[in-house]
C-alpha cells in the first residue's frame, strides 16, 4: 500500500497542468507526470530510465541538456523559452496542434543527492490569446497599412526602422530586411528635416506638422516626400510611425506652374512695354493732330508775317532805287520784327511736335502758359478774344510740361471750334483748395491743395449728357474727320496721371469751362533749358578760324557775315568735297559749322572724314529738322553740338563761344 505521502505526491504531480519531469544524477527520467504523457504521447513507463535525448531522438536539445547539466552539477536554475529557441520538445495539444511551451530546469535536492526538475509550461493559450487579440486589433490597421499608397514606416526612439509597409519598400526599392534595423536617417538626404520629424513626434507636440523630405531610393534617385509622424507606445516602449506622402507629382506640377507664372510675368511685361509704346505713339499722334488743327491758323498767320517781311523789303528796295536812304531803318526793323516772330512761331511749333519722353518736373505753370501765348493768340484768329489771367503767387506743381502744353492746346482748339462765330477764350490760373466735402463728392480725388488751370470759352456749351461722356475715349461731337475724340480723355488721363483731377462745367448756349487740378508741389522749381537770350555779343579771340559748310548761298553768306563782324576768320565751302579739301590742308580750323543735310556727303560724313586727321575738331551742326534734333543724343559725339534753324544770330554767337571755350 502506498503511504499517504506517496499518494498525495504522485496525485499532485499528475494533477498539475504542466509537464513535470524529474531526472536523476545521470539525467535519466525518474518521474514523468500525466501531463507529459499526454502532451508527448509517451507513457511514464516508456520514459523511465531514459535521458531526454533518448526519448526525443533527432531533436536538437543542446540548451536543455546544458540546463539539466547545470542544475545537476552547479545547482543553477535555467529558463529555456520558445521566444529564442527555435525548437523545443515535440509536444502536441489535445487537438494535435504544436504546443508552445517554455521550460524551466531547477535543482530539486541538496548534494550529495542530485536531482533536477524539468518543468514544461504550456503557453499556447496565452500566446494564442495574445496573437488573436493582436490580430483582431491589427486586422484593420494591417489592411490599411498594407494597401496604403503612402509610405509608412515605424521607427523606435532612435530612428531605427522597425517596420516598413509595402508602398515604402516598392517605392524606395528596398527589401524589408534591408530597411528593418537600419536607421531611417540613412534614407534621407534632408537629415536635419528628418530629425525634426522624429523629434517633433517624440516630444509629442500637438498638431501633426507636415515636413517635406527628400529620400534616396536604392537606385540613387531622389524622391520628394511629405512626412507626418505620430508617437505611440507599446507597453513602455515608444514608437513613431511616419507617413510619407509621395509629392513628386505635385512638385512637378508646382514647378510647371511656377515656370508658367514666370513666363506669364514676362509676357505681361512684354505686353506692358508694347502698350506703353503704343501710348507713346498715341501721345505723339495726339500732338500731331493738334498741330494739324492748328495749321490753318498758322498758315494764315505766317502769310501775314511774310507779308510784313516782303513788304518791308519791297519798300527798302524802292527807296534804295530812288536814292532815298532816310527811314530805311524803320522798314528794315519792321521786316526783322516780322521775321523774328515767324521764327519764334515755327520754333515753338517744332519744339511742340518734337518727340519727348514723359518727364514730370516741378513746374511753374505761369511762364509755361506765357510762352504759349503768342502761339495761341495767332492760332485762335482775330474773331476770338484771348485772355490769359495769371494768378500772382501761384504754387508749383509737378507734371510733364509737354503734356501740359498739349492739354492746354487741345482745350484751346476745342474752345475755338466751339466758337465758330467768335467769342472769348480765357485761360486762368489759380491756387485751389479742395476740401473734404468736395473730395467726398468726387471719385478718385483727395482733399488738398491744387494748382487749377481753367480754360473757358463763350461757345455753344455742352448738354449734361455730353458732359457725362466727354472724358470717355473716342467720344466726339465733331464731324467725322475733324477729331479723334481722344482730346478730352487724354486731358483727363494726364490730370489723373499727375495725381490731379479734371472737371467740366458747361451750359448749353453759354459756354464751357474745363478745369484741370494739378497737385501742389512743395519744393524748388526746376529751371528749363531756355533758348539763349539775345543779349551779350561773344567776340572771337585772336585769329580763331571757323569753316562754314552750307549749300544754301544766302544762309552761308549771312553766317559768314555775322562771324566776320564778331572777329572770326572765316572759310567757306558749299559742299562736302570742298570742305574736306580745306580740312585736309594745314589750314587752321578751330570750328566747323556744317549743315547736316547737304547734297552728296552729309554733315556727319564730312566730320567723320575730317576727324581722321583732326581728331579734336570741334563741330556745330545746323539742322532745320526737328526729327534731327530729337535723335541728336545718339548722333552727337564729344566735341559736337547742334543748333536748330532758324536761330537768332546772337544765339549762334553764344553757342560758338561755348564750344570754343569748352
Amino acid at each position: 500500500m502506498p503511504t499517504d505521502d506517496d499518494i498525495s505526491q504522485k496525485d499532485v504531480l499528475n494533477a498539475i497542468n504542466g509537464g513535470l519531469v524529474v531526472l536523476d544524477h545521470n539525467a535519466r527520467v525518474i518521474r514523468w507526470n500525466s501531463w507529459m504523457e499526454f502532451a508527448s504521447r509517451i507513457t511514464e513507463h516508456e520514459a523511465r530510465d531514459r535521458t531526454l535525448a533518448d526519448i526525443f531522438p533527432g531533436i536538437a536539445l543542446t540548451r536543455l541538456h546544458f540546463a539539466v547539466n547545470a542544475a545537476l552539477t552547479s545547482r543553477t536554475s535555467t529558463i529555456v523559452t520558445h521566444a529564442i529557441n527555435p525548437s523545443l520538445l515535440p509536444l502536441l495539444t489535445r487537438s494535435k496542434k504544436p504546443l508552445l511551451h517554455d521550460i524551466t530546469v531547477t535543482p530539486v535536492s541538496d548534494p550529495p543527492i542530485r536531482r533536477c526538475l524539468v518543468f514544461v509550461n504550456d503557453v499556447t493559450m496565452a500566446t494564442r490569446r495574445e496573437r488573436f487579440l493582436r490580430d483582431r486589433q491589427n486586422a484593420r490597421y494591417d489592411a490599411v497599412v498594407a494597401n496604403a499608397p503612402d509610405l509608412i514606416i515605424t521607427v523606435d526612439h532612435e530612428g531605427l526602422i522597425q517596420f516598413a509597409n509595402s508602398a515604402a519598400l516598392s517605392q524606395l526599392g528596398f527589401a524589408s530586411e534591408d530597411l528593418v534595423g537600419t536607421n531611417a536617417r540613412e534614407l534621407f538626404e534632408t537629415k536635419h528635416e528628418w530629425q525634426l520629424v522624429l523629434q517633433g513626434a517624440l516630444s509629442n507636440s500637438p498638431g501633426g506638422r507636415r515636413i517635406d523630405l527628400i529620400a534616396r531610393r536604392r537606385d540613387g534617385t531622389a524622391s520628394h516626400l511629405e512626412a507626418t509622424a505620430s508617437l505611440w507606445a507599446s507597453g513602455t516602449t515608444n514608437f513613431v510611425t511616419v507617413i510619407l506622402r509621395d509629392i513628386n507629382e505635385r512638385r512637378a506640377v508646382d514647378e510647371a506652374l511656377r515656370e508658367l507664372n514666370q513666363t506669364l510675368e514676362q509676357r505681361v511685361q512684354d505686353r506692358t512695354a508694347q502698350v506703353m509704346q503704343m501710348q507713346e505713339e498715341l501721345r505723339q499722334s495726339q500732338k500731331m493732330e493738334a498741330i494739324g488743327q492748328l495749321t490753318g491758323g498758322i498758315a494764315h498767320d505766317f502769310n501775314n508775317l511774310l507779308q510784313g517781311i516782303t513788304g518791308g523789303l519791297d519798300l527798302v528796295k524802292k527807296r534804295v532805287m530812288q536814292g532815298r536812304f532816310n527811314e530805311l531803318d524803320r522798314f528794315i526793323s519792321g521786316a526783322m520784327t516780322s521775321a523774328s516772330r515767324a521764327s519764334a512761331l515755327t520754333h515753338r511749333l517744332l519744339a511742340f511736335s518734337r518727340r519727348q519722353p514723359l518727364a514730370p518736373k516741378a513746374l511753374d505753370v505761369n511762364p509755361l502758359l506765357g510762352s504759349m501765348e503768342e502761339l495761341l493768340r495767332r492760332t485762335l484768329g482775330e474773331r476770338i478774344v484771348f485772355e490769359l489771367v495769371i494768378a500772382g503767387g501761384l504754387w508749383l506743381t509737378k507734371c510733364d510740361p509737354n503734356q501740359l502744353e498739349n492739354a492746354v492746346l487741345n482745350l484751346a482748339i476745342n474752345a475755338r471750334d466751339a466758337m465758330p462765330d467768335g467769342g472769348t477764350l480765357t485761360i486762368e490760373t489759380a491756387n485751389a483748395h479742395l476740401d473734404r466735402a468736395y473730395a467726398a463728392n468726387h471719385q478718385d480725388i483727395e482733399a488738398g491743395q491744387y494748382v487749377c488751370i481753367s480754360v473757358t470759352d463763350s461757345g455753344s456749351g455742352m448738354s449734361p449728357a455730353t458732359i457725362a461722356k466727354a472724358f470717355e475715349p473716342f467720344f466726339t461731337t465733331k464731324p467725322l474727320g475733324r477729331g479723334t475724340g481722344l482730346g478730352l480723355s487724354m486731358i483727363y488721363g494726364f490730370a489723373k496721371q499727375s495725381g490731379g483731377h479734371a472737371k467740366i462745367y458747361s451750359e448749353l448756349g453759354k459756354g464751357t469751362t474745363v478745369r484741370m487740378y494739378l497737385p501742389r508741389y512743395r519744393g524748388e522749381a526746376e529751371t528749363e533749358d531756355l533758348v539763349p537770350e539775345l543779349s551779350d555779343v561773344y567776340s572771337a579771340h585772336t585769329n580763331e578760324t571757323v569753316l562754314v559748310v552750307e549749300d544754301e548761298f544766302v544762309v552761308r553768306e549771312l553766317i559768314v557775315e555775322v562771324l566776320k563782324e564778331l572777329g572770326y576768320s572765316t572759310l567757306e565751302a558749299e559742299d562736302g568735297p570742298a570742305a574736306l579739301k580745306i580740312l585736309d590742308s594745314k589750314q587752321r580750323v578751330d570750328l566747323l559749322i556744317s549743315d547736316i543735310g547737304l547734297p552728296g556727303l552729309n554733315g556727319r560724313q564730312i566730320v567723320d572724314s575730317a576727324r581722321e586727321t583732326r581728331p579734336a575738331l570741334k563741330v556745330l551742326f545746323m539742322t532745320g529738322y526737328a526729327e534731327n534734333a530729337a535723335i541728336a543724343a545718339g548722333f552727337l559725339e564729344p566735341g559736337m553740338s547742334m543748333i536748330t534753324k532758324p536761330f537768332a544770330m546772337e544765339a549762334l554767337a553764344t553757342r560758338i563761344r561755348e564750344i570754343l571755350e569748352n
Binding site: 529555456v80 529557441n85 491589427n138 522597425q162 530586411e177 507597453g235
Partner: protein
C-alpha cells in the same frame, strides 16, 4: 555614505574578479552564439566596487530613468542578487538583435519579456557558475525575473538590504548583428558574502601564483 569596516578589494583581486566575470560572459556568449547562430561578443570592461547608492546613482546619471532588469538570487557560501540592466529603450533592440530582424515588430514585442528573461538567465548563470566553479564552491541560483522601473527599485527588492551591502558593478557590452548595446551587470552582496568573495579571490590568486611560480610544487 561611509561604511564602517568596509572591506576593500586589492587591485589584483579586482583584476581577478574582472577576469572571472569576463570568462563568465564569454561562456554566455558561446551559449548564445549556438542559440542565435550569429556572432555574439560580450565583454565587461572593468568591475568596480561601489555602494548600493553609488550603483543607483550610476544608473540614474547615465541613462533614462526607465530601466529593465533581469535579476536572479543566489545562495551558498556567497549570497546575493545578480542583475543585468538595460535602459528600457534598448530592450527591444536587444531582443531584435537576439531573435533576428525577420520577425515583425508585434512578434518582437510579444516575445520581449521571455527573450529578456532567458538572455539574462544565460548571462547571469554563466557569470555566477564561472565564479562558483573557479572558487570550487556551489551556488544555488534561482530562476530569473524581469523587472521594469528605476534603478533604486531593483536594488531595494526584499528582503530588506543591509546598510553595508556592496555592489560589484560594471558595464556590459553586447555586440551582435552589427549592433552594439551597452547595459550593466551588477551583483549585490551583503558584507559577509563580500568578505568571503575577497578571501576566495585571494585564495584563487594564491593558488594560481603557486602553480605558475613553482610548477614542480604540489
Amino acid at each position: 555614505m561611509t561604511v564602517p569596516e568596509r572591506v576593500v578589494l586589492s587591485e589584483m583581486e579586482l583584476d581577478a574578479l574582472t577576469e572571472l566575470v569576463n570568462l563568465g560572459v564569454s561562456n554566455a556568449a558561446a551559449s548564445m552564439r549556438e542559440l542565435v547562430k550569429e556572432e555574439i561578443i560580450l565583454s565587461v570592461p572593468k568591475v568596480t566596487i561601489v555602494t548600493r547608492d553609488e550603483a543607483i546613482r550610476n544608473l540614474g546619471e547615465r541613462d533614462a530613468k526607465r530601466l529593465v532588469a533581469v535579476h536572479q538570487d543566489f545562495e551558498g557560501d556567497i549570497a546575493g542578487r545578480a542583475l543585468l540592466i538595460f535602459p528600457e529603450t534598448k530592450s527591444l533592440e536587444l531582443v531584435r538583435a537576439i531573435v533576428g530582424s525577420d520577425l515583425s515588430l508585434e512578434d518582437i514585442i510579444e516575445l520581449e519579456q521571455e527573450a529578456l528573461a532567458e538572455t539574462g538567465n544565460i548571462i547571469l548563470n554563466a557569470c555566477l557558475s564561472t565564479l562558483a566553479n573557479n572558487f570550487k564552491r556551489t551556488l544555488k541560483i534561482s530562476l530569473p525575473e524581469v523587472l521594469h522601473g528605476a534603478g533604486s527599485e531593483f536594488f531595494y527588492v526584499k528582503p530588506p538590504p543591509q546598510i553595508d551591502d556592496t555592489v560589484l558593478f560594471s558595464f556590459i557590452n553586447f555586440s551582435v548583428r552589427e549592433r552594439n548595446i551597452t547595459g550593466y551587470i551588477a551583483m549585490l552582496l551583503d558584507l559577509p558574502s563580500f568578505a568571503t568573495l575577497k578571501s576566495l579571490l585571494a585564495a584563487l590568486i594564491e593558488s594560481t601564483r603557486s602553480h605558475t611560480a613553482a610548477p614542480d610544487a604540489d
